[in-house]
């Protein structure tokens, strides 16, 4: 039996549409102070630091330069991962499993409000020769995928809208969330068309925020925390990056990442063994697609389950109790961090009015967003 890795300290800011009072450094500092305080450590106790950054999201080339001062990581082993926070979390897990590291700090940050040309930025991720010259919005890609998803009979348009209604309602109970609202399916269906069938309210709005977590080895966990949350499984995968050759309906990378995480956690029947899930819902239908790729629902069943309230708080499998991307906000590389954060709070029984009773095993899933096919999954248990 392999050693388990614990999350022993948690630090975070609120997730807000803007954060003009803090620089990117000050935002991470705020989260780091809380995380270290909770674990009762100082930066000098940390063996390595794993930050999450992507040059053009930060507005820097070689953005790893600016990752360490605000973590207290000067003259320490520090690196960045241009991926989602869950990728960085996987690095932290691997570090500790080598038994060369006892304490690892993992960080992610979103300063989405500082990016003034997000549509152009997303377009800049397209293949420069084959796709970019067509000058279509990145959301058109979501439209293509959603259309395929609906046409294949995997869900109805209303069921996708029900995801938005649920997640924004969930966010009303999350004091960290920026986009809680009480809306109806009609609100979603009648919102401004962006790239049909995708409408404005189907898209997670952008948010700022920072998350820092302290990971430690199993033997050290009792000295750092009374309420360890264990990372029992982690997986990541990438499907084809080219638009011309990808699978449009199946979210293959999510399935592969999930399978890897399940294998490591010894989970054979996810639908029965997972108590709650925080999955990527950057576009409404993605929540349904991802739930099915993760084998939490049979293909074509996640939409109906959502309509029936099975994924609502109090349902058989609460999904995105935090509000998800639609309710908390899309945090770019910090998205997966918000999901892990929610699971840790739930598994510790600290989720307040949105606490899921008896939450024992949770799943967090991230997707790197349009136009990528990269995904990562973590399984956490109390």
């Amino acid at each position: 039996m392999r050693e388990r890795v614990a999350i022993a300290g948690l630090g975070y800011t609120a997730f807000t549409s803007v954060s003009p009072g803090s620089s990117y450094r000050e935002l991470t500092y705020e989260a780091a102070v809380k995380a270290y305080e909770e674990a009762g450590i100082e930066p000098k106790d940390v063996d390595s630091f794993v930050c999450t950054s992507e040059d053009m999201l930060e507005g820097y080339s070689i953005s790893d330069e600016y990752c360490n001062d605000q973590l207290g990581a000067v003259l320490k082993p520090a690196q960045t991962i241009p991926g989602d926070f869950l990728h960085s979390l996987a690095v932290g897990v691997m570090h500790i499993l080598t038994e060369q590291f006892d304490i690892v700090v993992v960080q992610a940050l979103s300063k989405a409000s500082n990016m003034k040309t997000i549509p152009d930025l997303l377009n800049f991720a397209f293949d420069p020769v084959l796709n970019r010259p067509l000058d279509v919005t990145a959301y058109a890609l979501a439209g293509l995928e959603m259309n395929r998803f609906l046409t294949d009979g995997r869900a109805t348009r209303e069921q996708c809208a029900a995801v938005v209604v649920k997640n924004k309602a969930n966010a009303l109970k999350n004091p960290l969330a920026g986009y809680g609202a009480s809306i109806s399916i009609e609100h979603v269906l009648e919102s401004e068309p962006v790239a049909e069938p995708v409408r404005l309210l189907d898209i997670a709005p952008y948010a700022d925020g920072a998350v820092v977590m302290v990971l430690c080895s199993e033997k050290l966990a009792p000295s750092l925390t009374d309420k360890p949350v264990w990372i029992t499984g982690i997986g990541w995968s990438t499907d084809s990056p080219t638009i011309e050759s990808r699978d449009w309906s199946g979210a293959v990378a999510v399935r592969l990442a999930g399978d890897m995480a399940y294998r490591m956690a010894g989970i054979t029947c996810p639908a029965r063994e997972i108590d709650l899930a925080e999955v990527n819902d950057e576009i409404s239908f993605k929540e349904l697609q991802h739930l099915e790729a993760l084998r939490l629902f049979e293909p074509g069943q996640a939409g109906r389950a959502t309509e029936d309230g099975q994924t609502s708080p109090g349902g058989a499998l609460p999904v995105n109790v935090s509000g998800g991307g639609l309710g908390v906000g899309h945090l770019f590389e910090c998205s997966g961090a918000q999901k892990v954060l929610e699971l840790v709070l739930q598994l510790r029984g600290e989720a307040g009015s949105r606490q899921v009773p008896g939450a024992g095993v949770g799943l967090a899933q991230a997707w790197r967003g349009i136009p990528t096919t990269s995904a990562a999954v973590a399984i956490l248990s109390a």
Binding site: S19, G21, S23, Y24, G59, K116, D120, V129
Partner: protein
């Protein structure tokens, strides 16, 4: 394995092949714009530059007076404690005489070379330097250890930027 026994990839391409169109290329200028939140420390720093002053931040634990200012001490890992005005004079820690622009193009014929320098600011802790440029000095007269003084833009032209200091010039002569 020996590298010599393999046929190595990569086909060299001459610039002329692009110019004469025998190899096709696509151009795209990215439209990437950012408006970075300055936050507390740098926000105040810029506000003070607009007023013709340089401000630093002090950590009462290591007693460093830090410039550019920061709200946390990255070495002691604690919030910094107080604002401290420092002087607009300093010492050249190191310098270069630079004949190329930021995009690697050569400076224009007759244009004076740029003289970037790390300047240790008087009033800040020893070794606390900032990047700036030197002016009103012949390149061959610049020395490490030279005392310099800021030359400011006119008050009405200042905009709250590091360029509100036009350059540093020798403090004497």
């Amino acid at each position: 394995m020996e590298l010599e026994k393999f046929e190595l990839g990569a086909t060299p391409l001459k610039e002329s092949a692009i110019k004469d169109g025998s190899v096709l290329t696509l151009h795209k200028k990215p439209n990437l714009r950012y408006a970075w939140d300055n936050g507390v420390a740098i926000g105040r720093y810029l506000t003070e530059l607009k007023e013709g002053r340089i401000i630093a931040r002090k950590c009462n634990k290591c007693r460093r007076i830090m410039i550019p200012p920061r709200m946390f001490c990255e070495l002691c890992w604690r919030p910094t404690d107080e604002w401290v005005y420092v002087r607009d004079t300093g010492t050249v820690n190191t310098f270069s005489i630079c004949y190329v622009n930021w995009d690697a193009s050569r400076i224009k014929e007759g244009e004076k070379p740029h003289i970037p320098a790390v300047i240790e600011i008087d009033g800040a802790s020893p070794g606390m330097g900032i990047l700036h440029v030197l002016g009103e000095v012949e390149p061959d007269k610049v020395k490490i250890g030279m005392k310099v003084r800021a030359v400011w833009k006119k008050p009405e032209e200042r905009e709250g930027s590091i360029t509100d200091i036009l350059y540093f010039k020798p403090a004497r002569g």
